[in-house]
């Protein structure tokens, strides 16, 4: 990865942290494009999400606060989890885009680790590209907040629509523990799209 790309990701990360800091007292559920800076095209009228203009990057985000904490558990042969999704149509003007997906979760995990799973799926069916670095384990802990980011470089664009998801659930119970439990208080889910340096 080049220095320029690292710098770009670092800048995105700081912007995301700023956004996360701002949503703490935000609405219970909001979803929509968040322009990274003035001049980014508006998403109004777009059925799925904003496109990307030349030289610009675009963010789509959602903040969710549960009215009462959501509890998911794994017990013996029975497990439950949930997921958050953002839909976004890639720009027709670019063949490839780079994706950074960031998920900040306020949670409590007992009886074992919790698991965050990233996923991309084309809205019209077909491929399921993977994101790096894949599944992420949250160690069991009392109530805390954690931010995790994933990347996908060179995702095929050209107007394709994708659904970007993050699944969250307890992992299987730790040895000797009958039940693993994940309690989620709130989360923010952010997807940033930039034109890829490699358009082929």
């Amino acid at each position: 990865m080049g220095l320029a790309k690292k710098a770009k990701i670092a800048a995105m990360s700081w912007a995301i942290l700023l956004l996360v800091g701002c949503v703490g007292s935000g609405p219970r559920l909001s979803e929509g494009p968040t322009p990274a800076r003035a001049g980014t095209p508006s998403a109004s009228g777009a059925p799925i999400g904003p496109g990307v203009a030349n030289g610009e990057w675009v963010r789509r985000s959602k903040a969710h606060r549960f009215p009462k904490p959501a509890r998911y558990r794994c017990e013996d042969d029975d497990c439950a989890g949930s997921a958050s999704f953002l839909r976004l149509r890639t720009p027709r003007s670019h063949d490839r885009v780079d994706i950074v997906m960031t998920f900040t979760i306020e949670y409590r995990a007992t009886g074992g680790d919790a698991l965050l799973q990233p996923g991309i799926r084309r809205v019209d069916g077909g491929g399921r590209p993977s994101m790096e670095p894949g599944d992420f384990h949250l160690t069991q802990t009392d109530r805390t907040t954690t931010t995790v980011s994933w990347m996908k470089e060179g995702l095929r664009a050209g107007g394709r629509a994708y659904r970007f998801g993050v699944g969250f659930s307890p992992a299987m119970p730790a040895f000797g523990e009958p039940i693993a439990s994940l309690v989620v208080y709130r989360f923010t889910h952010v997807v940033d799209v930039t034109p890829s340096s490699d358009q082929h």
Binding site: A70, D77, A80, F85, Q117, V166, G167
Partner: protein, 239 residues
């Protein structure tokens, strides 16, 4: 006339109160309620398809269909039906699946013993976090399975029983009857939604009283074909 009507009213009132009190004590005696076992449920389209992943051996498919049919025979408004074979994307994957892509898998879980099978339920957040959207089941191919309807041999596990049990979880049933409850340790029939098959491994082959009424309390019978969305027949009822 007024006196007669009053007596009828009082009799009806006493009967209603009696029924109410009786239902309370019955519930206490059972020690469980539908809401505690079904905190989240399938909703709206209650005709739920499941797909065999490519890993499921053909000889198991009819066996599996029979077990989902046992839950359907309770005439609740939920029905679980086989809907062909397809490439699955993995047990417990909530992010790469869409609504009602419910796959069954035949896979290595933890070798012989331990976990025989497991079920995973996904709840999405768009509109109703208590609505089940996707479920998947994984059977451990390493077990010493017994596939027949006759009694399992020593150290064998009835596949039919395990399949029946996991469909209970697919319906939304969370947790199990307590091991010390009458359902799992009493002199009566051993219930399918106990946590483990009984000692002979044959304990889960039929739905018993409290399996049934817990399911039916969560999914009362509708008495007719299932309608979905704009009133069209559900996919199952079209078949």
């Amino acid at each position: 006339m007024a006196s007669s009507a009053g007596r009828i009213f009082c009799a009806a009132l006493l009967f209603s109160v009696g029924c109410f009190v009786s239902s309370i004590f019955t519930g206490l005696a059972y020690g469980h309620s539908a809401s505690s076992y079904y905190p989240r449920k399938w909703k709206i389209d209650l005709s739920v398809p499941y797909q065999f992943s490519l890993s499921i051996p053909d000889h198991l498919k009819d066996n599996i269909r029979e077990q989902s049919a046992k839950w359907n025979s309770l005439d609740g408004e939920l029905s679980l039906y086989a809907d062909g074979t397809a490439q699955g994307v993995g047990y417990g994957n909530c992010v790469e699946l869409t609504y009602q892509e419910n796959f069954l898998y035949w896979a290595d879980i933890d070798g012989p013993g331990g976990t025989l099978a497991r079920e995973y339920t996904c709840h999405f957040l768009e509109s109703d976090p208590d609505r089940i959207r996707v479920s998947s089941i994984q059977y451990d191919r390493e077990e010493n399975w017994h596939y027949g309807t006759d009694a399992s041999g020593s150290n064998e596990i009835s596949f039919r029983g395990v399949a029946l049990h996991e469909f209970g979880h697919m319906s939304g049933w969370v947790g199990h009857f307590s091991a010390s409850s009458d359902e799992c340790s009493g002199s009566g029939p051993y219930h399918t939604m106990c946590a483990n098959p009984n000692q002979s491994g044959d304990g889960w082959k039929s739905l018993e009283q409290h399996d049934k009424h817990t399911f039916n309390a969560a999914y009362p019978g509708s008495g007719g074909p299932t309608l979905v969305g704009d009133g069209a027949l559900s996919r199952r009822d079209q078949k």
